[in-house]
Amino acid sequence: MGGTASTHKLIRDDGKRYDGRAPDELRPITIQAGVLKRADGSAFVKWGDNQVLAAVYGPREVHPRHLQNPARAIVQARYNMASFSVSERKRPGPDRRSQEISKIISEAFEAVVFVEQYPRTTVDVFIEVLQADAGTRCAGLTAASVALADAGVPMRDLIPACASGKVENTVVCDLNKEEDNCGEADLPMAIIPRTGEFLLLQMDGHFTYDELMQAMEYNFKALNYIYQLQKEALRKKYATVQLEEPFVLPKREEPPAVESGADVARESPAMPPDAPQPGEAPPEMDRESQGGA
């Protein structure tokens, strides 16, 4: 944690955070699937003041060839921050931080992509942070997961990610920049929602065991909600495609009825078989303004 002193109180007297959120409240999140034309799959995530774009290419040929794995596909994620994404210009290109993040994101995706179905190939995942306000690796992973599904890459599940932490001795969900810089702990986490298993787990700062468990609980709750947003974003994209180009049957005496919307769920790739149907309410995450829907 930065450990720098904040200019304002991070926890107000009424127990709310300085941006008005309750301790267990997320920032507003919107997810859009399929925002780029060239990429095989893409997604854009706005998460508070974060803006993150993700694109997927592949499975495709691996270059250089020595990286090929004859038994399975490799997932190569590249997390990159735009030089203008932070208030002090960031030197372009990979630094140690971004290389570490790229590594752990690649590892997380290798656990869910059916890599054994695509030997000798690579699935390239590009994450560009356009505007950063803390939690960019989580926003990036969340976006990339939707982009992978948008690309039709077979996966065991979508991966949501979120970071909770601690500010002024209070455990809080989804740190923003000020809280991240001046807070006492940060816990980025990504799971497989269907099983609750951890795919990404990092922590820095200072947590007692009980605080850590509380932060994990906040994360679990948030991840479940973000998961619904991810699915919603995918459904929305495919629903839009249908609206723009309605399928009109040639005129016959008895045209069979086509239920629009029936195909939507089927066409969403990587959807778990027991996924809730469209329209099912996301779990309570006390905030109405949050987008996606």
């Binding site: 944690m1 930065g2 720098t4 794995n69 038994a71 002090e88 140690r96 931080r97 290389q99 570490e100 790229s102 590594k103 752990i104 690649s106 590892e107 997380a108 995706f109 290798e110 656990a111 816990l187 497989i192 099983t195 609750g196 298993e197 951890f198 795919l199 990404l200 787990l201 990092q202 922590m203 820095d204 700062g205 200072h206 947590f207 007692t208 065991y209 850590l212 468990m213 994990m216």
Partner: protein, 260 residues
């Protein structure tokens, strides 16, 4: 994860042993290997430590130089951590620019040292905004016998623990000993097919599915964590790993006489 036949045989062997709560080198699943620490082994460095941790051998050197502080922390010294996976340490290491593995290693060690407030960076400030001491922690892996995170973290902490700031060299008064406030201990556990293994050896690490490093302080509080590899961990496994890391930290601190 190793894909070849030998890897498969070893994986089966390691899991078969684990069913009987045994390991290839005779340890139990929760046991840490034999550890020895030697300090001040390199006189040219401001501080140094050689850690032999099972078959892994690591040399950490601390160098202190003067420089300018970061603009956002004008009254604090700078801590820079770097890991060198030199080719002599393993047939798997190659020379060249740092790979993601060594970057991750250095950053995880750095996080543990930094977040536990091991050294008071304010004590490394000479003139705010202008001049501070920069503390370089360079970790040289000499022999890679599995689990680099924990030996490197211990080596970094012990090297800092012996370091002197060469103030006179820069005409800034008398040399002084670097003050150590906390003693974080990192503990790494891997998940293999049938269970968890604390402090993995080389073969265990090569068949591991997931890895979790947890750094705890004297109070058992958690200061840093890092999951690695593309396997999954359940919530219960995470809790078990955190608790065994707290235990290993306690035992190791007692053994080395740190933080009383």
């Amino acid at each position: 994860m190793e894909q070849d036949a030998i890897g498969d045989l070893k994986r089966d062997y390691i899991n078969r042993l684990l069913a009987e709560k045994k390991r290839m080198d005779g340890r139990g699943p929760d046991d840490v290997r034999e550890i020895s620490v030697e300090t001040n082994v390199v006189t040219s460095a401001a501080g140094s430590a050689r850690v032999r941790w099972g078959e892994t051998d690591v040399l950490v050197g601390v160098m202190v130089e003067q420089g300018t502080p970061f603009p956002d922390t004008p009254d604090r010294g700078v801590l820079v951590t770097n890991a060198e996976l030199i080719p002599m340490a393993s047939p798997f290491f190659e020379s060249g620019p740092p790979r993601p593995e060594s970057i991750e290693l250095a950053r995880v060690v750095d996080r543990g040292i930094r977040e536990a407030k091991t050294i008071d960076l304010a004590s490394l400030c000479v003139t705010p905004k202008e001049k501070v001491y920069i503390c370089y922690v360079d970790m040289h892996v000499l022999d890679f016998g599995g689990n680099l995170f924990d030996p490197c973290s211990l080596g970094a902490m012990m090297a800092l623990n012996t370091a002197h700031v060469p103030a006179s060299k820069f005409g800034l008064g008398e040399d002084f000993k670097l003050k150590i406030d906390h003693y974080p201990i990192s503990c790494t556990t891997v998940k293999v097919r049938d269970g968890l293994l604390v402090d993995p050896g080389l073969d265990e690490e090569r068949v591991a599915e997931a890895r979790l490093t947890v750094t705890t302080d004297e109070n058992g509080d958690v200061r840093a964590m890092q999951k690695g590899l593309s396997g999954k961990l359940t919530f219960d496994e995470v809790k078990t790993i955190i608790q065994s890391s707290q235990r290993v930290g306690r035992e190791l601190r007692a053994k080395l006489g740190l933080g009383a």
